[in-house]
Each structure stands twice: as structure tokens, then as C-alpha cells.
């Protein structure tokens, strides 16, 4: 297999324009002859579905929730970046591009990231026109805030509910098309396999989550927009339903999985409080605009935060990274929090926490302004911890939050399987080894509104209208049988351990050995533990109920079974990448200050893994990352 990234020629800033000028088009009368399957209705899938339907294609859209409006994108809080330069503070397409490349520690593909920065401004225009109620100044213009890894204010927001409002924008555009009959919506339907016909992706097999019915759907192209796989770690900030099943099953059908070990750990989440905990809650990065992060200077200082005088506090981000201070990027802030906790200076009962303090902001701005900016986050913090963050600092700790890795795609956002496109968090394309805050929403909407609608035409134009297979060919029947067999196998085990017990165990292995810091010995140990756990799962898991109705245990079991395979790949990738970069700190490779030491000579590539069988060693294919416009530099935020 050879990976071809299909990066267009010409200077970086002209590539996308040149590309659009020369790609193949599908004429308006032919568009309605093509069916496109889009799995996922988050920002990526929702925007793609609406836009392709507006263009005239027939879209079939799938999601696991009861309504497309509930996709996990709904939970995004802080904001969305765009190079509008409305603040006149020196922002530009190049600066957003460069910040993103640098933020990703020079492990992303230059051409894709530049395109992302180019279309970012259009996203804000589109969303505003749809009625997304962005925060405004009194004069009626849009307002901005700052996010980590940037020295300009380019983040647009709608209170603390930016993801919700952007998603409702996509959803309303989808609703218009569903009403018009150009999108057929399948809610509560889970994709369980990808179907390949003559080497091209031509359909999917799904399970109706209410009736249990297994069905096949064929199309001229398949788009996966199924989000990230961070729930492999069990505890995360993701919605409980977020999962890797669609991309994992596609991987098993031949789609390469790129950089699986690039998992983002977000510095500001509410710390774990007990074993019963089912998820971790993010406190938006926007809080670091006004909140100051600190721990006591002394080890084991058990005094209440208010009793620790100013000169006995260590504002460690401001101290270590004066240029960016509390807005240092996520990977760096998380690691810094881990370091101070490892030194025994962590706060809270478990010692796994640091303070995020609004005392200064309240003195400077008044409580009312702080309330206006972050009220809903303070309320959320109060609901969960029962503590009042206006009176005492928040306690926060890093948690799994996002996955930069995902299915490998070329410049067209097409995987190595022709006809299979992957957009949003599900692909690997734009964020390298670390994503900057407010850039996932931007990428999801860029992919769906402004990139895929062009690039998919380039593929469809090569497919004869009406040539798609029917959904009852041998390939579909075989995939349906595989799906049914697997479900029956899960239901037939009737073992002694619950699905949750297995999931927690896997999460613990991944967090301990492939979390904020990784090393050879730990990774090798994880590679022994995971297959053993997987074998035990298939012999001893207890999946109650039947396949013929709503069975949430069966849904979870299928997902955990996939994590038990994916987990091994995550660790394999982390072991193979014998350098540190972004989120991936290999303890063997750090600077004396504990920062990442990249090895550009040997590792400036995207690692695309080819599946060769469960438990078998996957094949590694390297896409070299060639930088034409930026210089690979040490990533400094000092």
C-alpha cells in the first residue's frame, strides 16, 4: 500500500485556490443521481449533510442519539477560532495557520492546515447568517476572547455553549433539507460495518438500536464523521455515547489509522472524586483568560487556599511560560500540572489537583463581569463539587479530552480506501500532536461546509451515475452476517464480569501507561496486559438481554470490544514513536526542564497503521511531513 497525500502543487497560500480551479465537478443535473452516506451528525457530519443536500445530492444521515441535535459537539463550551482579525490585533490567515502548526508541534500536514485557516472566516459568516447567537458588543458587532497557544483574540463564542449553538445551526440547516426530502435521517442507528465493493467503499451495515434490525445501505460514497475515540480511556470529558466503532470497523476493512497515540489531555477538568464516577467534566479553557493557576510552594501544604499567602503560592504557568502565562497550550499545561502534583504539591483530598483562582479577576473586574463571562461554568462547578468558585479557587486536573489521531486521509479528506471520506475529529488531519483550543469546532465545520463539498465531487465525477451497487449483493450479505455473528457471540458469552468492569480496567491501563507521560517499559507492559484483558473479555463478559430490541448493554459491549483492539494500537504507536512531541511525552526524550524533545530527522512523519488481524502486528506506513513554508523550530512558549 502506498499513501499519496494528493497535496496540490504551487505555493502554500495558493494551493486551495488552484485546487478548486482544477478539480472535477459534477453537473447540477447529475448531482441528484448520487447517494452519499454520512455517518454522524456532529459539526462535521451535520454541516456536510446540509451542504451536500443543498447542492443537490441525496444524503442518508445516521446517528446513534435519538436526534441529530444531540451529537457530542453539543457539549463544546468555549468557542471557535477564525482569522477574522475583527479585533485589529494582528491576526491573519498565516498567523492562525502558524499557531496551529506550532501548536501541533510540527506534526500536521502543512497544506491541510493552511486551507483550514483560509476557510475559517467563512464559517463565522455562515453561522451568523443561520442565526447562531454569537456574543456581541453593544454596537452589534461580534466579540472575541482568547484561547491557549495564541497571542491574539480570535475566538468567537456563544456564552459557554458555543458547541450547542453551532450544532443547532447545522441541525437547523439539516432540518430544512430533511423537510425538503433531500436528507433521509436515521436516528438511533449505529453503523457496525463498512462495505467494500470492487475495492471502493460503497455502503454500510447498521443496527436499528430500537428494534435491533440489521440493515444494509448502499451509496456512491461513504463519509464518516463519527467523532473521537477518547472514551477508550473510560474516564474522559466525552459524552458517554462517543465511540470508535465506525472508524475501527473501517480500519479493519482496510482504512489506515494515523497517529492513534496522539490523545489530548485537557488541563482544566474537575478532578476525579470517586470510583463510581462515570465521566469527567471539562471547565472550559476560556476560564484561563481570567483564572490564574497555582499550587502551594511547600510540599504537602494542607492549609485552605485562602490561608496561603501570596508569596507562598507558585503560579507555575506564569513562572515557566511568561509570554503565554496561563494561556500556555494544553499539552504543556497538563504536563506542568502533573509535575507539580508528582512533586507532592497537588491540592484537594487526593493531591491530584491544582487551583484555578479567580480572586484577582473578581477584584479587578468585579463579580458581575466574571459572572457574565463564566456564570454557567461556575454553576456547573458548583453542581458537581458543591463548592463556590467565586469564594474559593476551583480545583482542576487534566483529563482525556480529544483525539488528534484518527483515520488517515489525503488532501481530499479521502482515506486510502477510495470512496471513504473521513471528516471532523474522526480523521487525523489538522492538529498534529496537539490541538489548540477552539480549533476542533473550526475544523469540523471547515470540513463539512467548505472542504468536503468540493473534494467529494472530485471523486464522484469518476463514478458513473447509477453505477452504485444494490444493497443486496454478496458483499453486503457477508458484512451483515459478520455483524450478526459478532452480536450473537457477545450475547452468548454470559460470563461473570460486567462490561463496565472491563472498560474501567482498560482505561486504567491506558491512563497509566499511555497518558500524560509514556516510557518504553510501561508501554511494553501495556502491550502484554491489553491482549490478556481482551481474551478474558471474550470469555467472561456478561452481556444481558437480547439482540431484538433496545439493549444498551449490547451497544456498550460492542464498543468496549473495539476499544480492546484499538487500545493495543494506541500503545503500539506510542512505543514506535521514540521521540517526544506535543501530547506524546516519552520520558526518555525530554529537555532538562521536562519539555518535549522532538526528533525531526527520524520522526517527522504521520504514522499510518494498516490492520493485519486482531492481535497481529500492524504494518506501519509513513507519510513524510514536508514543510515548504515553515521552519521546524523548537516549540517555545516562554
Amino acid at each position: 500500500m502506498k499513501l499519496n497525500s494528493q497535496i496540490p502543487g504551487g505555493p502554500l497560500a495558493q494551493k486551495w485556490t488552484n485546487y478548486k480551479d482544477h478539480i472535477k465537478l459534477v453537473n447540477p443535473a447529475n448531482k441528484r443521481k448520487y447517494d452519499v452516506i454520512i455517518v454522524g451528525t456532529g459539526l462535521a457530519g451535520g454541516s456536510a449533510a446540509a451542504t451536500l443536500a443543498e447542492l443537490g445530492y441525496n444524503v442518508k444521515s445516521f446517528c446513534i442519539q435519538d436526534s441529530p441535535r444531540r451529537a457530542h459537539s453539543v457539549a463544546a463550551q468555549g468557542g471557535i477560532n477564525a482569522a477574522k482579525n475583527y479585533q485589529n490585533d494582528g491576526d491573519s490567515v498565516f498567523r492562525l495557520f502558524y499557531d496551529t502548526i506550532k501548536g501541533g508541534d510540527f506534526r500536521a500536514r502543512e497544506a491541510n492546515v493552511h486551507r483550514l485557516a483560509e476557510v475559517s472566516a467563512n464559517i463565522i459568516d455562515q453561522c451568523a447568517a443561520q442565526g447562531v447567537p454569537f456574543a456581541r458588543e453593544y454596537g452589534g458587532t461580534l466579540t472575541n476572547r482568547s484561547f491557549g497557544g495564541a497571542q491574539v483574540s480570535r475566538t468567537f463564542y456563544a456564552r459557554g455553549q458555543t458547541g450547542q449553538q453551532l450544532l443547532l445551526g447545522c441541525y437547523s440547516a439539516m432540518c430544512r433539507q430533511i423537510g425538503a426530502g433531500t436528507i433521509k435521517m436515521y436516528p438511533r442507528t449505529e453503523m457496525l460495518d463498512l462495505v467494500i465493493v470492487n475495492g471502493q467503499a460503497k455502503g454500510i451495515v447498521t443496527r436499528n438500536l430500537v428494534t435491533g434490525k440489521i440493515e444494509s445501505h448502499s451509496a456512491d460514497a461513504v463519509v464518516l464523521a463519527t467523532g473521537g475515540y477518547g472514551n477508550a480511556y473510560y474516564l474522559s470529558t466525552y459524552g458517554r455515547g462517543s465511540n470508535a466503532t465506525a472508524i475501527w470497523r473501517a480500519h479493519k476493512k482496510g482504512a489506515s489509522f494515523a497517529n492513534p497515540c496522539f490523545t489530548q489531555i485537557h488541563p482544566t477538568c474537575i478532578p476525579v472524586s470517586g470510583d463510581y464516577q462515570s465521566k469527567l467534566t471539562l471547565m472550559s479553557e476560556s476560564l484561563r483568560n481570567d483564572g490564574r493557576v497555582w499550587v502551594p510552594k511547600k510540599k504537602g501544604d494542607k492549609r485552605a487556599p485562602g490561608e496561603i499567602p501570596e508569596d507562598e503560592r507558585d503560579y507555575y504557568l506564569e513562572r515557566k511560560y511568561p509570554a503565554y502565562g496561563n494561556l500556555a497550550p494544553r499539552d504543556i499545561s497538563s504536563r506542568a500540572a502533573k509535575q507539580v502534583c508528582d512533586e507532592g504539591r497537588g491540592v484537594g483530598e487526593s493531591g491530584l489537583g491544582v487551583y484555578l483562582d479567580f480572586g484577582d479577576a473578581i477584584n479587578r473586574l468585579g463579580r458581575k463581569v466574571v459572572e457574565e463571562r463564566y456564570g454557567n461554568l461556575f454553576d456547573m462547578y458548583h453542581e458537581i463539587t458543591h463548592e463556590n468558585a467565586y469564594e474559593q479557587p476551583m480545583r482542576i486536573f487534566p483529563a482525556i479530552h480529544y483525539t488528534m489521531g484518527g483515520l488517515w486521509v489525503d488532501y481530499n479528506l479521502m482515506s486510502n480506501l477510495p470512496g471513504l471520506f473521513v471528516i471532523g475529529e474522526a480523521n487525523f488531519s489538522d492538529h498534529g500532536a496537539n490541538r489548540l483550543g477552539a480549533s476542533a469546532l473550526m475544523q469540523g465545520l471547515a470540513d463539512g461546509y467548505f472542504v468536503l463539498p468540493y473534494t467529494i465531487a472530485n471523486y464522484l465525477a469518476t463514478q458513473k451515475p447509477g453505477s452504485r451497487p444494490k444493497a443486496d449483493t454478496a458483499e453486503f450479505k457477508a458484512a451483515e452476517k459478520d455483524v450478526a455473528d459478532r452480536l450473537n457471540k457477545l450475547l452468548g458469552i454470559r460470563g461473570k464480569k460486567t462490561i463496565t468492569e472491563f472498560h474501567k480496567q482498560l482505561g486504567k491501563i491506558l491512563w497509566e501507561h499511555c497518558g500524560m507521560a509514556r516510557n518504553k517499559a510501561g508501554l511494553e507492559q501495556a502491550l502484554k496486559l491489553i491482549p490478556t484483558l481482551r481474551d478474558e473479555f471474550w470469555n467472561n463478559v456478561n452481556v444481558p438481554g437480547e439482540g431484538g430490541d433496545l439493549n444498551q448493554s449490547l451497544e456498550r459491549a460492542g464498543r468496549v470490544a473495539d476499544y480492546l483492539e484499538l487500545g493495543e494500537l494506541i500503545v503500539t504507536d506510542a512505543l514506535a514513536r521514540d521521540e517526544s512531541c506535543g501530547c506524546h511525552l516519552r520520558e526518555e526524550h525530554q529537555t532538562p526542564e521536562g519539555e518535549c524533545q522532538r526528533n525531526d530527522a527520524e520522526y517527522a512523519y504521520a504514522a499510518a497503521w494498516e490492520f493485519t488481524g486482531v492481535g497481529a502486528k500492524p504494518n506501519l506506513h509513513k507519510e513524510p511531513l514536508v514543510y515548504e513554508s515553515v521552519q521546524l523550530a523548537e516549540r517555545s512558549y516562554k
Binding site: 446540509a50 451542504t51 443543498e54 442519539q65 435519538d66 436526534s67 441535535r69 444531540r70 457530542h72 453539543v74 457539549a75 477574522k84 467563512n122 455562515q126 451568523a128 447568517a129 443561520q130 442565526g131 447567537p133 454569537f134 456581541r136 458588543e137 454596537g139 452589534g140 461580534l142 456563544a158 455553549q161 458547541g163 450547542q164 449553538q165 443547532l168 437547523s172 440547516a173 432540518c175 430544512r176 430533511i178 423537510g179 435521517m185 436516528p187 430500537v210 459524552g239 458517554r240 472524586s273 463510581y276 462515570s278 467534566t281 456547573m380 453542581e383 458537581i384 463539587t385 458543591h386 467548505f450 460486567t498 463496565t500 456478561n542 444481558p544 438481554g545 430490541d549 444498551q552 448493554s553
Partner: protein
């Protein structure tokens, strides 16, 4: 703490349902209500019984998926939170808690605590959008929106579409939901061209879905996890009447 749960169990809409009692022991007051259901489901699974089906996803009050009636109140005893943001510290050790699905003609039951709220999607499909194709938009600052108007639109737009308003209403009316959705768009300058059409189409679809009439008792506002204000219902009524007059 220890809690006794009385939970509505119903295999499907075609079978009769009943309450079943479960004991949950050694619970932590900082546990969320749904985490308690997780614990009970683990117990049931281990005992070879069927776990309770309930909807949930984000577990932070924004997706609108969770939907339980707890001791007779949609989303439980606390104000302005969803079921998933309800914590055991709101209950006392030894309490018996009754858990039921959202019950309304417009929300047919699926299983146990899970109901079908697709009627809300169909109301949205009737007119809950601004007709602007991708690529057609002017510069975002070309349409100024005063801060007060933007804030009001946001107040309405916050609705998470959970359906608690319907579950709380004695007539199972969906007025608060529809009012929030219509007001969000009808308040904004971008929403003006389709303002009347939108109000008419969404109200008509609401009636078709079998939701009851609104008599403005305010029980919807009281249970709304986002505190959507009844005043949006007056606004919807004005938009609707205006649309009828000039039809």
C-alpha cells in the same frame, strides 16, 4: 447513604408496565443520579436481571438526552438542572425515590425510561431554520445585532430540547419548546424574512403531533433545566396572531 428506588419497567410500548423496587447501598452523596442508576444496573446485571434502559449522553446538562421524572417532577427536585445534573445530596439517606419516563401522548414510550421525542425534530423540520445555503452568507459583521437582542435570542436558543416542559404540563403541551425555537430566530434580524411563515408552520406541526393546548400555567418554566422564560410564549402568540392576520 442507602436509597430505595421504585423504577418504571416496561419492555415496549405494546406491553404493560409496572414499578419494580431496588435497593441501592453505600452510595456517595456526591454521586450523580445517573451514576446511581449505573450502580443499580451493575447490580441487576450481576444478578442475571435486565438493566434499566435510560437515555443519557453528555451527563453535563447540554445534550438534552436524559429524561426522567423523579418523584413526580421532570428532572427531579432541583431547579434549572437536568436529570444528569441531579446529585444524591439532594436526597436523604433512607429515601424512597420513584423514577418514571416522561409521559405524554406526543412522546410514545420506547422502553423503561426511554421515550420517542422525534416529534420535536418534525416541528423543527417544518420551519425551525433560516433558509441560507452554505456559501451565501455576507460578512458576519455586515448584519449588526444589538447586544440586548443577541442576549435575548441566546436566552431562547439555550433550549436543550429535552421535553421536560411537555412532561410537566397537564395538557402535555409543547408551547414552551416551540416558543423558544421560534423566538430565537424571530428575534434576530436574520430571521425576519421568514418570521410569519415560521411561526405558522411550527405551531401547525406541533398541533399535528398531538401535543395539547397551552393554558399558561407555568409548570413548564418551573421544570425547564435552562430556565426558558414563559415570556417567549407571549412572543410566539404575538408572532402567530400577526401571521394569521396577514396571511
Amino acid at each position: 447513604m442507602n436509597i430505595t428506588l421504585r423504577v418504571w419497567r416496561q419492555k415496549s410500548r405494546h406491553e404493560t408496565g409496572h414499578f419494580e423496587e431496588y435497593e441501592a447501598h453505600d452510595l456517595n452523596p456526591n454521586m450523580s443520579f445517573l451514576e446511581m442508576l449505573d450502580v443499580v444496573n451493575e447490580q441487576l446485571t450481576k444478578a442475571g436481571k435486565q438493566p434499566i434502559a435510560f437515555d443519557h449522553d453528555c451527563r453535563e446538562g447540554i445534550c438534552g438526552m436524559c429524561s426522567c421524572v423523579i418523584n413526580g417532577e421532570p428532572h427531579g427536585p432541583e431547579n434549572k438542572v437536568a436529570t444528569c445534573q441531579t446529585y444524591l445530596r439532594s436526597f436523604k439517606d433512607g429515601d424512597t425515590i420513584t423514577v418514571e419516563p416522561f409521559r405524554a401522548a406526543g412522546f410514545p414510550l420506547v422502553k423503561d425510561l426511554v421515550v420517542d421525542r422525534s416529534a420535536f425534530d418534525r416541528i423543527m423540520q417544518a420551519g425551525g431554520f433560516i433558509s441560507v445555503n452554505t456559501g451565501n452568507a455576507p460578512d458576519a459583521n455586515a448584519i449588526p445585532v444589538g447586544k440586548e437582542i443577541a442576549d435575548q435570542a441566546m436566552d431562547a436558543a439555550q433550549c436543550i430540547g429535552c421535553g421536560a416542559c411537555v412532561a410537566a404540563c397537564k395538557n402535555a403541551s409543547a408551547m414552551l419548546f416551540v416558543a423558544a425555537k421560534v423566538s430565537h430566530l424571530n428575534l434576530l434580524p436574520q430571521g425576519q424574512p421568514e418570521k410569519s411563515k415560521r411561526a405558522l408552520a411550527m405551531v401547525n406541526q406541533m398541533d399535528e403531533e398531538g401535543f395539547g393546548a397551552c393554558t399558561v400555567t407555568g409548570s413548564c418554566e418551573a421544570v425547564c433545566p435552562k430556565g426558558i422564560s414563559l415570556s417567549f410564549i407571549s412572543k410566539l402568540n404575538r408572532d402567530y396572531l400577526g401571521a394569521m392576520l396577514f396571511r
